[in-house]
Amino acid sequence: MSKERNREVREPLIHLTRRSSMKPLQAWGIRILAVLLGLLICGIAAFLLVDKLQKNPERIGEFYYTFIRGSFGTPRKAWKFFKDLAILLSIALALTPAFRMRFWNTGAEGQTLMGVLGAISVAFYWGGKIPEWLLLVLMFASSLLCGAVWGVIPALFKAKWNTNETLFTLMMNYVASYIVAYFLVIWVPSGSSNLGKLKYGKLPSFGHDYLVIILVTLLLTAALHIYLNYSKHGYEINVVGESVRTARYVGIGVGKVIVRTMILSGALCGLAGYMIAAGLDQTITTESVGGQGFTAIMVCWLAKFNPIGMILTSGLVTLLDHGAAQISQDFSVAADFPDVVVGIILFFIIGSEFFINYQLHFRGHGKEESVK
């Protein structure tokens, strides 16, 4: 059975070892390289998908420039960029406590939508009947409550029976969207499900419509950073996330922490919903959150659950999204082109982590070479 084999053929071509650590600077270098490579592939994808580029290959430079122009081309675009960044960031921040606890909350979409519903239903029923400031306060409370309830339901079952939270929260998204559909049928007698802009319940604007949202999100980032790293609650969340058995061993009530943290996570999603409802839309559709609940999961993960880092990652995703949207406008591609671009770049960033954690050794005599 033991056959003689040629050494040169049989020795593995590439041999892997785990890196003990890497300098942060080098790691960031790899990540930036990954994004650049991803952009290159996006260019190639664009060639395949976009007719106008195939006909005028010289416009490829313009193609890349459009990424920047889409986000910062005009002051209006820049404001919109920061607004979208803020909403995405606030949802990602809301997910952070749950993710640090290794509670895979895929239900941010639904929790945020419930936050929007909470605010809009208060505005719909009481708008104009009570003072505007009171209305805004009630909307705020209602948003937080709705989000928290939507977040805590899966948590209760997770705490009691260890029910799979990934799928539970995912399904809750759809339940939420049909609840909104139900209310739209009730609220809009015409049956068009188009509620239109409500007259009441709009956050005051200080200088610019988007300023409040941006400031609140910045404050939230700082608060969450402090909460997670310097508070006892944050410490408990980290211990539960790292090892449930350690948490039990030192007397942390794991179920209690899961429930408490998901109330917080859900309520923060509700807050994002409030900002969408009272700060921006003043109406609701089943698409009010528009998939940002899912994008936020990736934003959160890319930043390694670090609130400060999330400013960067949500910025990157928003930049790509706006840039690609501009491209689909300028080059007349389907409106879903941004998803393709974001997807490709994410693949590259996700893949780049490998080169940060592992080292490659190529065949050769004791000569080691690491791939950057």
């Binding site: 050494r7 508070s231 211990v239 790292e242 061993y249 030192v250 007397g251």
Partner: protein, 569 residues
């Protein structure tokens, strides 16, 4: 006697990051011999053998089989060269039956026919004198059965070279004898058997030759009949060491923890603890022996409040007689209650009941230190959470078996790990990292922990240092009862002796130490009494100064109990 070379390793080097696990190791293995690979934990024995089994790939060096150079880059290659390894942590799929595990990954011709496999497996088992039901699922098996499956798995593939990694660690003395008999039979069959171990007596008993490894280097290979324990030890450790464990006589042992008729069921409604009763004394080390999985973990977890008991009592006796009560662990309410229960006196025989006193007056009196306990305090720990046990003022420390999965958080640094027990201190919502950091620094200093600093994740430390961090933290809590599960597992000799010393120090300062061990020699040398568990029941409590290994081995496997039987009445 002329013997034929089976395989050779030449100049094998393997590094993990900056750690050199094996440094230019040479090794010869002959046909029809038992070769022991001897070395301390962490000296690279397993790593070296893993390269024969195709788990690791060497950075440098070559492997020759029957004189020809070969490349083993996967376990499949190893099987093709008729090398089979039985890993220390069994590599079996729990949900599969024995037969399914045995044929796993084999590329046999013909239909997938489990019945046929079952017959062949039974045949091999019979040939070497094993007992095995091929249709039993692995998760229903005892440790020794699992090992049997592993050995038959290797034989089924027709291996000529068998590597066994620490095969005796989980067996009773009787099972070890049986295993050695099987190994000798294989040797007579012309197979090469390599046995990795750190136990000298086993080396001398079973092997023909011994290869000694130290810190990843090959020190020497000697014929077993030409060597002795002292010489082997010196080669293994690198210096002359006295391998006896100190055992001070217990000073004034007083009952500290009473465990009465504990019954516990696991999540699948299987009874894992059966009517367990014993008393642990302060100033004494109580050993717990038993085959792995006999209820050791569940027993310690029950005492520390991590299990929901079916029935039974765990009573902690706090020596408080004639000592003043404080508000440190008792609330005002609790003190008032105790007063009504005639718990206090004033030192002159008069009772203090606080009757008719205002709270401020009580506070003044208690703080003056003139309110003394009349009797020792007894606290029932049954149905208390770990947190409640702490709040009751019971100093119970627990060094669990799973250090990084339970005792510590691997990704957190030393400071944050020190905080695990104490982070709740203070009323503010924020953490105070100052004291834990000081404690971490102190433990590093006192226990000579090798670490770049207090902000290094503990996962990156070596096994011995991880254990010192954990034991250090648990001892810093000034325990009255200290429970340690397999505290020296995987540790090198120096670290092991540090741990033994720490346990002895605790014993001498009056702590009731409970030590769960697997090495019977260590248990017999270190403990004062040894409690033997079998299948979740106590089969005996023996005096460690007079008991023998064989006696304990029998207790580990016998079905009916002696002392436990009385407790069942």
């Amino acid at each position: 006697m002329e013997k034929k070379l089976a395989l050779q390793m030449r100049g094998i080097t393997k590094r993990f990051g900056s750690v050199v696990a094996n440094n230019h190791v040479d090794l010869d293995v002959y046909q029809g011999e038992i070769l022991a690979i001897l070395g301390e934990n962490g000296c690279g024995k397993t790593t070296l053998m893993n390269m024969l089994a195709g788990i690791y790939f060497p950075d440098e060096g070559e492997i020759l089989i029957n004189g020809k150079e070969v490349v083993i880059s996967s376990p499949k290659d190893a099987f093709d060269y008729r090398i089979g390894m039985i890993h220390q942590h069994f590599k079996l799929v729990d949900l599969f039956t024995a037969a399914q595990n045995i044929i796993l990954g084999m590329e046999e011709q013909g239909r997938y026919n489990l019945k046929e496999v079952n017959t062949r497996v039974s045949g091999i088992a019979a040939k070497y004198g094993f007992h095995l039901d091929p249709q039993k699922k692995v998760y229903e098996m005892s440790v020794s059965e699992k090992q049997t499956v592993e050995i038959i798995k290797v034989l089924y593939r027709g291996a000529d070279t068998l590597i066994l990694d620490e095969p005796t660690a989980v067996l009773t003395p009787q099972e070890i004898d049986r295993l050695f008999a099987v190994l000798k039979k294989m040797k007579e069959d012309g197979k090469s058997v390599i046995i990795i171990t750190h136990k000298l007596n086993e080396v001398l008993e079973v092997s023909d030759r011994v290869a000694i490894l130290r810190r990843g280097e090959h020190i020497a290979t000697v014929n077993t009949c030409e060597t002795n324990e002292a010489q082997l030890t010196e080669m293994m450790v690198g210096k002359k060491v006295e391998l006896t464990i100190r055992r001070p006589d217990p000073v004034d042992p007083t009952p500290r923890l009473f465990v009465r008729n504990l019954n516990l069921y696991d999540e699948e409604h299987v009874q894992v603890l059966k009517n367990i009763s014993f008393t642990a004394n302060g100033g004494e080390i109580l050993g717990i022996a038993g085959i792995a999985g006999s209820g050791q973990r569940e027993l310690l977890e029950s005492i520390s409040g991590l299990q929901q008991l079916e029935s039974g009592e765990i009573i902690f006796k706090n020596p408080k007689k004639d000592r003043p009560v404080t508000f440190f662990h008792k609330s005002m309410k609790k003190v008032q209650e105790l007063g009504k229960e005639h718990a206090f006196h004033d030192g002159n025989g008069r009772e203090i009941s606080f009757e008719g006193m205002r709270r401020s007056e009580i506070r003044k009196l208690v703080e003056s230190g003139k309110v003394l306990f009349r009797e020792d305090e007894t606290i029932n720990l049954r149905d208390r959470t770990p947190l409640e046990i702490r709040q009751l003022g019971v100093h119970l420390s627990f060094v669990p078996e799973d250090r990084l999965g339970m005792g510590l958080v691997g990704s957190m640094d030393l400071t944050d790990n020190m905080m695990l027990r104490s982070y709740r201190k203070g009323t503010a919502g924020f953490l105070d990292r100052g004291k834990p950091k000081a404690l971490a620094e102190q433990i590093i200093e006192e226990l000579q922990i090798v670490t770049p600093g207090v902000s290094t994740p503990v996962r990156t430390l070596s096994g011995g240092n991880v254990q010192k961090v954990l034991v250090g933290r648990e001892i810093a809590y000034a325990p009255k009862v200290l429970m340690a599960a397999y505290p020296v597992r995987g540790l090198d000799i120096n670290s092991s002796y540090t741990i033994y010393d720490l346990l002895n120090q605790q014993k001498e300062s009056g702590v009731a130490v409970i030590f769960v061990g697997e090495d019977l020699d260590v248990l017999l040398a270190l403990c004062d009494r040894i409690l033997v568990l079998n299948g979740g029941a106590v089969t005996g409590i023996v005096d460690a100064r007079t008991a023998t290994k064989e006696e304990i081995g029998l207790l580990m496997t016998r079905t009916e109990s002696r002392e436990g039987g009385e407790a069942r009445e």
